[in-house]
Symmetry: C2
Subunit: 280 residues, 2 copies
């Protein structure tokens, strides 16, 4: 499976669409993965009622990506702000198949809320059944950003037959954050995702935003989008700048690893009950 | 919390006891962690009925470690082969408190069984409730070797208040294994454990055997015992040789991280039900 991830610095919807179109045209791959809230600024830096307006682009953006998929014969994973009903808004990733059809969507299940990332104000947590999205190139285990810190989600996707995990993401640090600490957080962010590949023996793609957004309380999205194999080894990684990276993923490596170390054979579902409790 | 891990090359029970005694005497720490099947050869390299005899040392070895703990005012984590009843044998870690009393024990829950590691032949999987062991120095989340590949176990220990995760281990490669592959496996073995610290925001100690055992089908236990902090950063690591390493663990770092990134607040216990299924 030939894949590309494209991390870019968001300036405006127009600029973003132009960049993505240009990039999609230049690629000869099966799958293009784009960052969280693909065609929007990261509006969750503030709690502001006016920002719900950004959901109005949902239908328009679906048309844009659908056309793009069909035109360039690409599976595309893009992320949108979805108004499902009055008062119910989701952070949603949509998978477009090569013919431009919607293969499926995934709504973010774990919603963060900490300084400068006020997402609980905007996003309703998904209650959809967790499952991979079937496409012409395989079963895509799409999850979103904060979900990546929860091994539970990767595990369920894998149990349900995901061939690969995919995390559109928007993570960064504040301009004044301690540089050493930020370095440690980036490392932890990579490690936790690599571990989902190791535990579930499937490859993974993580695509982050990059660049600075905001005038006050600037967020520096740290890029570092990467691909890792089914043993959690990073095979391609982007720097902290606008960049597309491409890679070829060997899906058969998963089968080999699952025979060497058959973790799934040995899961102790009879003693995992406490996983469904909040605290014990 | 001052901790030491001691990885040594097993020659005989007598030699092992002597080494451990000498080491315990020289340490000024709160906690000493020893490898899996501490005072035994790794007898699971073969399926041989005669090897059940190794369980006969259980009571004797408990006395040995109990005396050692008391003498040197140390919490000790040691691993034994326990015959619980006819036909029921466990791979068991025992925690001795500083006064020589048994603080608790943990029986291995996930039992591996692949070429040269024929553990299902010997060990009954534990059905005990998973919980950390209370000691005078904190709640120790003791798990054993193969358990380390299952994020479920670390999560339950953390939910139940473990201050630290501890993995006595016996993992290695065969003499003729591909060197590059072995290197990748060692890296994956470190990564999966670091991820348990990251996901659960508690530090971790992993203590492996080291050295070669066996005449035919030699296993090369790869050492690399390590300590990592609550963000999964390795703070001390041993090489592939007989070695004790010591470290000071700052338990307050866990509280800090849990306020910065409050993962436990956001667990979606309402959608994790599929974790209790084998396949879906």
């Amino acid at each position: 499976m030939k894949v590309s991830l494209f991390q870019f610095s968001f300036k405006s919807r127009k600029q973003a669409k132009k960049l993505i179109f240009k990039k999609a045209r230049s690629l000869e791959v099966d799958l293009l993965v784009l960052p969280e809230l693909t065609l929007l600024p990261y509006f969750c830096r503030k709690e502001n009622m006016k920002n719900f307006k950004y959901s109005k682009y949902y239908d328009k953006d679906i048309k844009f990506f659908s056309k793009l998929s069909k035109k360039f014969n690409l599976v595309i994973v893009a992320s949108l702000f979805e108004k499902q009903n009055e008062g119910i808004y989701y952070n949603t990733s949509i998978v477009f198949d090569k013919d431009g059809s919607i293969a499926g969507k995934y709504r973010k299940s774990h919603i963060p809320h900490d300084d400068n990332f006020y997402e609980k104000y905007y996003f309703t947590p998904s209650n959809d059944k967790i499952k991979p999205i079937k496409t012409s190139i395989g079963n895509l285990g799409v999850l979103i950003c904060w979900d990546q810190w929860f091994p539970e989600m990767a595990r369920i996707m894998a149990l349900k037959g995901a061939d690969i995990l995919i995390y559109p993401t928007a993570i960064g640090s504040m301009k004044n954050d301690n540089k050493k600490e930020t370095k440690s957080y980036i490392k932890a962010w990579k490690n936790i995702q690599k571990s989902h590949s190791i535990a579930n023996q499937i490859p993974l793609i993580s695509v982050n935003k990059v660049g600075i957004e905001g005038k006050k309380n600037k967020i520096n999205f740290w890029g570092n989008s990467f691909v890792c194999n089914a043993l959690g080894e990073i095979t391609k990684i982007a720097k902290n700048k606008e960049e597309a990276i491409s890679d070829v993923i060997d899906l058969s490596y998963s089968s080999k690893l699952k025979q060497i170390w058959p973790f799934f054979r040995d899961r102790r579902i009879d003693i995992y009950g406490d996983l469904l409790k909040r605290d014990i």
